[in-house]
Symmetry: C3
Subunit: 160 residues, 3 copies
């Protein structure tokens, strides 16, 4: 078990999630290889990195707050162990997400299992395939929550 590689891949995923929620799209793009594919369910299927990043950039405008936490990494390397240095890896994660849409007065909450593939490149590990399948998704109206008050924080001030 190559723990350094496993840690490098966890860091890659954390960077993907951090730049996604902070809408730092150039840094988000750098977590993928150009030919990366994605399938986020509900027909949200993308055939390369440009398509993935364009979709996120267009869907997640400055008025939306997204929270994506990934838990329980189960990462396997290929090859693993004595056969040689891994140049490909698979990762399963348990996603917890929340999307707050003040313009639509909606909140979405859900959970899903992510299945990723990663590849080693001269610049480090990158995502070559990603996607998830939900266990559930719940939407609700902000207007129904008594006294609901939303404040945007300063984390977005960070240079993108």
């Amino acid at each position: 078990m190559d723990l350094v590689v496993i840690e490098e891949i966890r860091q890659l995923k954390f960077r993907y999630l951090r730049t996604l929620d902070l809408k730092q799209w150039d840094a988000f793009a750098e977590t993928f290889v150009p030919e990366a594919t994605a399938d986020y369910g509900d027909g949200l299927v993308f055939d390369d990195r440009d398509a993935i990043v364009a979709f996120m950039r267009e869907s997640l405008g400055p008025q939306m707050i997204t929270v994506h936490f990934c838990h329980h990494p189960e990462i396997t390397l290929e090859p693993d162990g004595a056969e040689g240095v891994a140049d490909r890896a698979l990762g399963r994660w348990y996603l917890e997400d929340k999307v707050i849409m003040p313009e639509h007065r909606l909140i979405l909450e859900g959970a899903a299992f992510y299945d990723d593939e990663y590849v080693r490149t001269p610049d480090g590990w990158r995502i070559s395939r990603t996607g998830h399948r939900r266990t559930y998704e719940a939407t609700m109206s902000m207007d129904g929550i008594e006294g609901y008050r939303l404040r945007i924080g300063t984390a977005y001030d960070e240079p993108g």
Copy 2:
């Protein structure tokens, strides 16, 4: 600090949580030794693996959605370090859980500290004792949440 063993134990716990939420009861059972015990509080005490699995299988029917995330693993090995190879370990985790019961129109949310014991077997690490103590638990009615709409995802389609 034997980091490989710590990672193996984290993987075991993630498998326990994943098979629990996906209701894959045979794979869930395989995370325990036969003589494993559990104490989930409120008198939910079980004396062996069969009793734990039977309880989960009966309580968590297909109409219920459960979400169990375990954070902050604090795992200690016994013996640890130069004294020899660990064959027993203790684990503390911080649980975040949510249970959605559409038939009863109820949602439960809570947090708890898990205290586990693990043992090394010829087939790898297994749970020999588990249980948690809650910090809090809140229940609420789905009917009181304006516009509440629940969708079940495709993750359960995975073969159990």
Copy 3:
């Protein structure tokens, strides 16, 4: 990449979060060096450990429930690698928090990015600087949630 040090620092952070939520203030204090500083945003700036601990002790009375989960650790050591043994580290984490205030009938939920600095001491790693910047914070009234019922668990019975 010194994985043992990274794991030691994760353990330190988990102890900080566990003792914070369990209100074990003496053990909480031990996660800091005496000269540690903190900036939790909104002017909550503290110049030493005593000030941090006093603020938490006074703000978080027995009637409040706090839940602080830290996800996605991105820890970098200084120096890292062949240059020598690390004696300083930086850590970024993604905080998910919830505060339940039964006396005020309020619930607060939010997320933030933590930026920490850690130093090696003769007694192990300690926090020398901490703080976070929020992505969002939402407050709501408990009274608006139909059928809301809160139960306090037994985790607080643990000796502090």
